[in-house]
């Protein structure tokens, strides 16, 4: 049933991702790929994995961005996966009922046996959470490791999504965001956790914690607060940038 569940419990399982802590190592993405290629959405097909046209299905992608200008700028590593939205249009557009949102915990899943591979759900998702597997002809997405978190054959401490278990920096937190007293809800409150693209109206469950303000508490040792950028002019290497006109023509002529 691709209509959203009307008997939703208050449980909202999801992730809280700390952008202050993420080091951009991609361990979460690799661990996700490893678990899920044998898990609920299996397989996550790779095509031409060692060739020139490498392609494959990943449920978690780690971007890196620069935010701010000059000395105030910072590098932010940014993992992107399904946000298990409360108003997921990816579910309601599905013509077959393959896409659904679970009433009991809010996890958004794809029934691989019902999916006809029309790709419309991926068009409806603003977050790029869904990747089509051309080999199986079906859509793949993050399951919040539903086959780990409820898996009683695993040790209790391992009943968490693979990405959360793999993160060496502790940037990923898993829990019930519908419970205001849960550790993840507390983190969101304390750190000002936010939604991605709130203007889309999808009401994501997953929250992102912003990088903390830069520390400026260092003792004054007489050093300048910021270094002045090195000049481009002068110096031996300065000429390279200015190679234009004649020499550029020579370079082009010789490169032919």
């Amino acid at each position: 049933m691709t209509s959203l569940p009307t008997d939703r419990s208050n449980k909202r399982l999801g992730l809280v991702i700390d952008l202050d802590v993420c080091v951009g190592c991609h361990a979460c993405a690799v661990s996700c790929k490893e678990w899920n290629t044998g898990g609920h959405p299996a397989p996550l097909t790779d095509t031409d994995p060692y060739g020139r046209g490498v392609d494959g299905v990943w449920l978690n992608r780690v971007h890196s961005f620069e935010a701010g200008e000059g000395a105030a700028g910072r590098t932010v590593h940014f993992p992107r996966s399904c946000l298990h939205c409360e108003a997921p249009a990816c579910v309601t557009v599905c013509p077959t009922g393959a896409s659904y949102k679970r009433a009991e915990d809010g996890i958004v899943l794809v029934d691989e046996d019902l999916c006809i591979g029309c790709k419309l759900c991926s068009w409806a998702c603003p977050y790029g959470a869904r990747e089509y597997d051309g080999d199986t002809g079906t859509m793949k997405k993050c399951t919040l490791c539903i086959d780990r978190i409820y898996n009683e054959t695993l040790e209790p401490e391992d009943r968490a999504p693979a990405c959360v278990k793999a993160c060496p920096a502790g940037a990923r937190h898993f829990g019930d965001l519908g419970d205001p007293g849960s550790p993840v809800s507390e983190l969101v409150r304390e750190r000002g956790g936010y939604d991605l693209m709130p203007e889309m109206g999808y009401r994501p469950t997953n929250k992102y914690l912003p990088p903390r303000p830069r520390k400026t508490r260092a003792a004054d040792i007489g050093a300048p607060e910021a270094l002045t950028p090195a000049s481009r002019e002068g110096g031996a290497g300065g000429g390279a940038d200015e190679a234009g006109g004649f020499w550029r023509w020579v370079d082009r002529a010789l490169s032919r």
């Binding site: 299905v57 961005f65 701010g68 557009v93 203007e199």
Partner: protein, 315 residues
């Protein structure tokens, strides 16, 4: 958005087929068209052939065409499911209408009711097609009020062109029908021009700052992509066409889909016999190429917000 040929073929061919079915249903039921066997066979045959080949083409887009019947289950929430239901439902009155028209040469009474039902089914199906695109908030060029009327009017106009071809080929004397096609094409052209103007600055109000939430630190720019090769998202959602090329193709689409068919159809209104029929064939061929180009542009000019994560400009 990646312009998939199966979807372009489906929306243009089925659109014309449903437009023709709509006109045959309404005009036949109203008694404006003669209840002659050959007109019914040629008209309904052509309409259902276009509809069916379009629907079959659309299944080539699927990863699992053999499961396509499952799409008839989620009409409560999904426009794609509704489109499938409406398309299938339309066959029933259309075939019964055809039985009356072709077997009994009757389009009045109960047979007229089937005609009206078939016309309603055709209109609802094309409406659902338009809503599949118009309901996607993630694609500002589609999430506009002009998309659904555009699909409806283009289907009607291309159907009217086909009807004009039929009456000339079969020698049915209906001097007003060319003007129906001309009016439909002119209205569709006006709407398309408004649409093209409307999407020039269209945006969902999202940018890389709201996508990442990092605009609190100032301007955001991508530093490293998550992967070295294009993935599914970039291939499916990242299709892009240069603005100057788009504008040139818009001009070609305007000429082929509207200007030539309008001029030629006016000529068919003034002429008679084989020459008028030949011109009507020309108008249909020109419009076919033009509408495929128009539909290709509809996809190629659509920009998905997910590309913001990959550093593409505001959507």
């Amino acid at each position: 958005m990646h312009p998939a040929y199966s979807i372009i073929l489906f929306t243009t061919a089925s659109g014309a087929g449903y437009g023709l079915l709509f006109l045959l249903g309404i005009l036949g039921a109203a008694g404006t068209l003669p209840a002659e066997r050959w007109l019914g066979a040629a008209g309904l045959g052509l309409a259902l052939f276009l509809v069916t080949s379009g629907l079959l083409a659309s299944t080539f887009h699927l990863g699992h065409p053999e499961r396509a019947w499952c799409a008839l289950s989620q009409w409560r929430s999904s426009w794609l499911s509704r489109e499938g239901m409406a398309a299938l439902f339309t066959y029933l009155p259309a075939v019964l209408y055809g039985v009356g028209w072709i077997a009994f040469e009757q389009t009045a009474g109960l047979w007229a009711a089937f005609g009206v039902l078939a016309a309603a089914g055709a209109a609802v199906t094309v409406y659902c097609t338009g809503m599949i695109y118009a309901s996607l908030r993630t694609i500002p060029q589609w999430h506009t009020e002009w998309v659904v009327p555009g699909y409806l009017l283009l289907a009607l106009a291309s159907g009217a062109l086909l009807l004009n071809l039929l009456i000339h080929l079969l020698g049915v004397d209906r001097p007003l029908f060319p003007w129906l096609a001309v009016a439909g094409l002119a209205a569709a052209l006006a709407l398309k021009l408004v649409y093209w103007r409307a999407i020039e600055g269209a945006g969902a109000g999202s940018d890389i700052g709201t996508a990442t939430g990092l605009d609190r630190f100032g301007p955001v720019r991508p530093l490293d992509a998550p992967h070295t090769q294009a993935n599914y998202l970039m291939k499916e959602m990242g299709y892009r066409i240069a603005r100057k090329h788009a504008h040139k193709l818009r001009r070609y689409a305007t000429i082929l889909a509207f200007a030539i068919p309008i001029a030629v159809t006016i000529a068919t209104a003034a002429l008679e016999g084989p020459l008028a029929a030949a011109l009507a064939v020309g108008a249909v061929l020109s419009a076919a190429f033009g509408l495929v180009l128009e539909r290709w542009l509809f996809f190629a000019e659509a920009q998905h917000v997910v590309m913001l994560f990959y550093g593409r400009g505001p959507a």
